[in-house]
Symmetry: C2
Subunit: 198 residues, 2 copies
DNA sequence: CGCATTTTTGATACACGTCAATCTCCGTGG
DNA sequence: CCACGGAGATTGACGTGTATCAAAAATGCG
């Protein structure tokens, strides 16, 4: 529930600053007040608060998406946000002519596109959903940092055991290679080999 | 692909006018150009165009939602829109100070809320998904006009037979009553009895 | 090194999918 | 007014993709 101090301990003040989060770190909680943010990199998970405190997956935000903009209307966050991969957020709206037309319009269009992506991740065969998520999260070079199996399961509405079986399968089929194998130390980092994947 | 004429045959001109659609009617098609719209009433289905022409369910829009705003950025629609129940749309942005801050911001927040609703309709037990959709579509008085079984199936990622069994079950449990029984003629119109429902 | 957490694997169960017949509307035309 | 036809809805019997449950096996970390 606490509000993040607007004063960063490293960089001396300047109030509206970008922030970094590590996987599983809370970004903000439903009901609290705070700023709206734009996701610069990484993957953010949004959860709706159920009656009895339990959080249920509600949405996903990736680079470019705006999160928490409802605070600007209601004063409090509707969802709880947490980091699924290392990620960086900056306060929104950015600088000067920010709230102006085109920027906001682009954000609206992006939000609708993201909603369609999410819908696709929750329908069809289990392996297609997981592959769909991996593709959504992969960068141009085919590198991905995956969320934990549990988070992938929540996003795709599958079970953790099912996710594990599918990802192991992709590894065995050489579609997904752990970066660790290539000497790079990045937990849950993989390289995706499109060639094989449909 | 055709563009709807901006001149309505009934009401003499005034260019930017609201439009009515009947279930299963196409509103606009992906790739075509046209205006952005706000849904005043009814339920609109958005489909992403697959490689080979087939349409796959992408999103849902209900009263208050904006659809097709991407034309204002890209010049063409990203999705294909069609009516699932009788519905009315008006051109957007509305009138004067339209594109201004708050209205757009509210639309963005609403879009994100809708995305979360959609996600909830595609996870968990089959009967909960269907009930969730019915609740989403019901008006304050517990009246609903449901889409066809096929459309409900597409939205919830279930099969038409499963939907049929679940809805018949709700009818038998007196949670959902066909309005027809009450002498009102409205195909697929029901009244929802919250009392029994969870 | 040793513990807690996450991931993997196997065996079995069940919710929903699939296939195939009806059945119910409704509009159409004789 | 009724036979006809087509689209949507319902129902039953059976199959299967994931969920479940239960144990190992990895992995990360102090």
């Amino acid at each position: 529930m606490r509000l993040f101090s607007l004063v960063d301990r490293n960089k001396p003040s300047l109030a509206r600053q970008s922030r970094d989060y590590l996987p599983s770190q809370a970004i903000y909680r439903a009901g609290a007040d705070g700023l709206a943010w734009r996701v610069k990199s990484g993957v953010v998970r949004l959860d709706a608060a159920g009656k009895s405190g339990e959080a249920s997956f509600a949405s996903l935000a990736i680079a470019g998406d705006i999160v928490g903009c409802e605070t600007m209307l209601f004063g409090v966050y509707t969802f709880t946000a947490s980091a699924l991969t290392p990620c960086e957020l900056t306060p929104w709206p950015e600088g000067k002519s920010a709230t102006a037309g085109d920027s906001l319009l682009a954000s609206l269009a992006l939000a609708q596109q993201r909603a369609a992506d999410l819908v696709a991740l929750r329908g069809g065969q289990a392996s297609d959903r997981v592959l769909g998520l991996i593709r959504l999260l992969a960068d141009g070079a085919g590198r991905v940092i995956l969320p934990t199996r549990q988070d992938i399961a929540d996003i795709t509405d599958l079970r953790i055991e099912t996710i594990s079986r599918i990802i192991k399968g992709l590894e065995r089929a050489s579609i997904l290679l752990p970066l660790k194998m290539q000497g790079i130390h990045a937990t849950r980092g993989y390289s995706l080999h499109f060639a094989h994947a449909a």
